[in-house]
Amino acid sequence: MSSTTNTSTHHTSTIGSIGTPSRRNTELALLLFAVAIPVFAYANVGLAINDQVPPGLLGYGVGLGLLAGVGHLVVRKFAPYADPLMLPLATLLNGLGLVVIWRLDQSKRLQALPTFVSAAPRQLLYTALGIALFVAVLIFLKDHRVLQRYTYISMMGALVLLVLPLVPGLGANVYGAKIWISIPGLGTLQPGEFAKIVLAVFFAGYLMVKRDALALASRRFMGLYLPRGRDLGPIVVVWIISILVLVFETDLGTSLLFFGMFVVMLYVATERTSWIVFGLLMSAVGAVGVASFEPHVQQRVQAWLNPLREYKLSQQGVFGHSEQSMEALWAFGSGGTMGTGLGQGNSDLIKFAANSDFILATFGEELGLAGLMAILLLYGLIVERGVRTALAARDPFGKLLAVGLSGAFALQVFVVAGGVMGLIPLTGMTMPFLAYGGSSVIANWALIGILLRISDTARRPAPAPAPNPDAEMTQVVRP
């Protein structure tokens, strides 16, 4: 940014490096927009349900605005060159999630449930915690390369986080999937959400060191590069771990997320298509194999293949069948192209988990295909910015970490949206930022924080090269 002046007697003007603009003002403008949209939605829901502008509108708007403002100021101070889009996108998704959770809180049908708790104030609290963690990441993580030192500690940490739900007395079996732990007095926590980030750190550190061996030492066979047996070690280990997760925690989503993230990062690190082929084969084999004997997984697959039959069985009171998949599909259907309007749908008929796992069904019904596509595009834009950050990053560790984090984010969106829409069997994961759930919101804000840190480093203008113009002597012309 500096324009140096020449100290010699000449009036030579020297051009200093002009930095890329930091674009913080763009971020601020987008952020205001991103806060205004949920406030609009909030007023809309209030008008539709109670015929009046909700009394909490100002408090809600100011609350969300304050949180976003704090995030923005911290970015301005500690990561001035970071990507201008990620914070507004995450804020918008989080705000929309809050509105729809509040809208479901207003539902008479859900209020009649014995398990009903008003979820929106809690979600606002989780959002505040999430932003606090986001701020902490930006303040204390001065350079993402520090994480590289903790490659193997991260591996241990991720394993512990993954195993925690299985520890007797700590793990909580919530409707078949054992991916929660319950901390007395604090509620439940989904360690898998945090494991996602820690595992990305481990994979990035590991692959950065090993990628040459994985990429180059291979034989070519039928157009595919076959890796050596001993190089297959890590992928086999990760595969076994994700299969174990599937078997013991009976959650397809978590398993798919971890394995998928590893394959994505492996592909990016080595540029070998064969890894993707192997990964797809192995995950297919693993999923089919486990589904052949694990009843919970079988049940989910059944609900996916025949949602209507499941619905009927559930209506007849047969235990162990869920009507939700079918109800979600009906919700999408009744939404149509333009939706029923916020607060005017009947997606609260999906009683249990309507505001967490199935929140997308509410969006689908009340905003219609048009709104749902916009939501998915918002997710897509976050992922795009993540990958763009990876492309711009100058260090291989940062590249891999950014790809891993945004890949995991994308996979999570795919797994949840695909599950709710009936593309793949339903899993126990939640839509990042939209769905009700503390772990998800907090972990994903931390994820955005790390991505912003990497993008700040990547977009920061490079320091001027050392003034060494006379490295080679000028040759003298000898006639």
Partner: protein, 173 residues
């Protein structure tokens, strides 16, 4: 609440949501095409110093030699500097009243990839009347205007070749 109001709000909300998406995409677009890269003559040079080129393109005209009140552009004054020989052949630099430095030093306006050029070889600047002057900066091999080696700052006639090492530049309208 009337049906009409709610319908308007519903469609309005979708419109606003999409507007946000579009604005976000516009931001990405300006991010992609934000900086202008001047086409340098030789591909080798462009590959070697893309940042340099970018920086020069993004830089505002540095250090106006004369305030705009100093005299209006004369008729027939050169408007650009063209490299006609050497590795940078084809490069043009707009003349906007700024000093142009030539040399191998990385901070020169035109960075010469030429073994026979000095790091700070010569400079070209407008004098008070807007006449462009070339001055040798004590280079090893000298700066030639046509065939004569420069010893003092010399006004440049339009189209006269200035030779620096293997590079030849000239001013054009």
């Amino acid at each position: 609440m009337s049906e009409l109001t709610l319908t308007v709000m519903r469609l309005g909300f979708l419109a606003v949501l999409w507007l946000f998406v579009i604005v976000a995409v516009q931001v990405i677009r300006s991010d992609l095409f934000g900086t202008r890269v001047t086409q340098r003559g030789s591909r080798r040079e462009a590959g070697r110093q893309p940042q340099q080129a970018q920086r020069q393109a993004a830089a505002p005209p540095p250090q106006r030699q004369q305030p705009s009140g100093g005299g209006r552009q004369r008729r027939g004054a050169p408007t650009k500097l063209v490299v006609s020989e050497g590795t940078l052949t084809g490069t043009t630099v707009a003349l906007q009243g700024q000093t142009i430095t030539l040399g191998r030093a990385h901070d020169s306006t035109i960075v010469l990839d030429d073994d026979y050029a000095s790091s700070r070889h010569a400079r070209i600047y407008p004098d008070r009347d807007g006449q462009w002057i070339v001055e040798d900066l004590g280079s090893t091999n000298g700066t030639y205007l046509d065939r004569t080696r420069l010893t003092t700052p010399t006004p440049i006639p339009l189209g006269a070749p200035i030779r620096i090492g293997k590079t030849v530049i000239e001013l054009r309208k």
